[in-house]
């Protein structure tokens, strides 16, 4: 699913209002402003979401392939129990950024309507694509979208 330019400018404000308190790994809050200039693949996941077991290897592959070219993968966990999330992470040990949002504040902000969901933000902080659900067959399409945004300056 794609949403092109719907939230122009508003996103910057939203990020600023961030979710500093709600979304953090350890004590450092997520500040999407700091990622301005990079393409951000923001993924919303949970340990009980079975398609996430397929999206994680794919996201890892994307991170490995395109990080140097300007891609940042950030996975926001929405588990109510932190232990469940940790167990999942121990199995997949991703090297991309993982943040925790048990209250769902960031999910609300981005109007997550299915699990998993991902939002692709371009270098100017505008949401360019939104995906509901993850199907491995769509991996190539998503990858092409990322390459397209990475190529933009």
């Amino acid at each position: 699913m794609r949403m092109t330019g719907r939230w122009t400018g508003r996103l910057l404000v939203a990020c600023a209002c961030a979710l500093a308190a709600a979304v953090s790994r350890g004590s450092s809050p997520l500040d999407l402003n700091s990622l301005h200039g990079r393409v951000v693949y923001l993924d919303f996941w949970a340990s009980w979401c079975t398609p996430c077991r397929q999206s994680f290897p794919w996201m890892q592959a994307m991170k490995d392939a395109y990080e140097r070219q300007g891609l940042s993968v950030v996975a926001i966990n929405l588990d109510q129990e932190r232990d469940d999330a940790e167990r999942f992470l121990q199995k997949f040990h991703p090297s991309f950024d993982v943040r925790f949002d048990p209250q769902g504040t960031l999910a609300e902000q981005f109007k997550v309507s299915g699990m998993p969901s991902s939002v692709v933000i371009d270098r100017h902080g505008i949401v360019r694509f939104t995906h509901i659900g993850f199907r491995p067959a769509d991996g190539d399409t998503y990858e092409n979208q990322l390459r397209e945004l990475i190529a933009e300056k």
Partner: protein, 454 residues
């Protein structure tokens, strides 16, 4: 639907999936890869689940059965799956034939028999060949419930279904089943569609099903309501049915799921039990003869089913209620309550269950017919299944997860024991000669089952 994370092969399409499943032996048990390889994968992961159980059923003084069941499900992880199941059951023992106990001994012929005489008969077939057969008969002592002591039946049923996604919010499925017994053959097919609303909090589903059965009783199908001693039996009969089900599932809150189903079905054709008879008694109560039963050739049933499931961290409970009514004037109420308690390590659970059931009798149900009434009889059956009774089931299941031991999510071993009891009510006052006899013995049975999932 429960999905297990067991990546085996990476290919799209169910046919490819099945071939791949058969071809890949060493790939099961691997955990998801955590890096690289992404460029070459072009599809999803195939998951399969093997579910099996062996049940032993024993009725007090009556029949016993052994029933292995196997179900295999292959899932591509993105909404498409196929299911195969196989059921075999072998039933043997003493089965009531519908006749009443009497103060005198009674003689009956086994279903293959053609007379009540114990002497051998000479039969001439259509091709002119003759054979001598001794008529299989059985006798019932005074005061005993007439049962066919050598009842035995074997059944093999094979079924399959295919579920496919149509869109993110809609999915459809089709399925079929064949059931074979030496005196009965059934073919059934079903199709359904489900659609999600409100961010998948609400699901609406519609299903239709059809069935065609061939009734081929041993010895031929008896002429309904005919005199038992005349053995008027002919060939094969059939019955057909069709039904529809409308379902609404609603997430109430984070811990509570509710489901409501409305269904209707209609069967037409030969609906009699070919092996059941009814005792004809005189005014005192002595048995003067027997008639084969006769049921209407049409039956329409409607039911409402409501289920609620609630969960907490260590336990979950499910309460289901069903109300059924049909045009034979049978109405039934069913209530079943199950609770599952998980142990501290969340690797074992105990699940007690209780089920309460009550049904009213069919309007043509009659434990006996008085000889004066026989000429005016329209329909009659003494089959206890159509009578008025309460039934209670108490059950306990214990299971432990084998997920860590076998490194397969969803693996489990379970044991289940159930006690089932039927008690009749609404009993007709018995005539003099039948006083003191137990005309409504009811039923007591246990079910013991072991299960294994992988």
């Amino acid at each position: 639907m429960q999905l297990k994370g067991r990546p085996a092969v990476v290919r799209r399409g169910l046919i490819a999936a099945s071939c791949a499943l058969l071809g890949s032996s060493g790939a099961r048990g691997q955990e998801a890869v955590t890096s690289g390889g992404g460029a070459e994968t072009d599809g999803g992961q195939i998951d399969w689940l093997f579910d099996s159980a062996l049940a032993y059923y024993h009725e007090n003084g009556r029949v016993q059965a052994i029933e292995p069941v196997v179900n295999i499900r292959i899932d591509d992880g993105v909404g498409e799956s196929i299911n195969f199941n196989l059921t075999y059951d072998s039933l043997s023992g003493s089965s009531p034939n519908g006749a009443l106990p009497s103060n005198k001994p009674q003689t009956f012929a086994s279903p293959s028999g053609k007379s009540l005489s114990a002497a051998p008969h000479t039969y001439t077939s259509a091709s002119g060949q003759t054979s001598v057969e001794s008529a299989p008969i059985y006798t019932t002592s005074p005061g005993q419930l007439p049962v066919d002591p050598k009842y035995h039946d074997q059944r093999l049923a094979v079924g399959g279904s295919w579920q496919m996604p149509w869109s993110r919010l809609t999915r459809a499925s089709i399925g079929g089943k064949v059931s074979y017994e030496h005196d009965f053959l059934s073919l059934a097919a079903n199709a359904s569609i489900a659609h999600d609303f409100n961010q998948k909090n609400t699901t609406l589903s519609l299903g239709i099903n059809g069935e065609g059965d061939a009734v081929r009783p041993i010895g031929g199908a008896p002429l309904p309501a005919s005199d038992y001693a005349l053995f008027e039996k002919t060939g094969t009969k059939s019955k057909n049915g069709a039904g529809m089900l409308l379902g609404l599932t609603q997430v109430m809150n984070r811990r509570w799921l509710s489901e409501l189903n409305l269904s209707v079905d209609r069967f037409t054709g030969y609906l009699n039990d070919p092996y059941k008879i009814i005792s004809v008694i005189d005014t005192i109560g002595d048995t003067t003869g027997y008639l084969y039963e006769k049921r209407p050739d049409e039956r329409t049933r409607k039911s409402v089913y409501l289920e609620n499931r609630v969960a907490w961290s260590r336990a979950s409970a499910a309460l289901s209620l069903r109300y059924m009514t049909d045009d034979w004037q049978i109405h039934s109420d069913t209530a079943q309550f199950r609770v599952r308690w998980w142990t501290a390590g969340h690797d074992q659970y105990w699940e007690p269950t209780v089920r309460w059931y009550r049904q009213t009798a069919a309007d043509f149900y009659t434990p006996w017919i008085s000889s004066a009434a026989t000429p005016t009889l329209l329909y009659a059956s003494a089959d206890a299944r159509l009578g008025a009774f309460n039934a209670l089931t108490y059950g306990l299941k214990y299971a432990f997860k084998l997920e860590d031991a076998l490194d397969q999510p969803g693996s489990e071993f379970s044991v289940r024991l159930e006690y089932y009891q039927q008690t009749f009510f609404d009993k007709m006052p018995a005539p003099a000669a039948l006083q003191g006899l137990d005309l409504y013995p009811g039923l007591r049975a246990i079910l013991l089952q072991v299960g294994f999932s992988y």
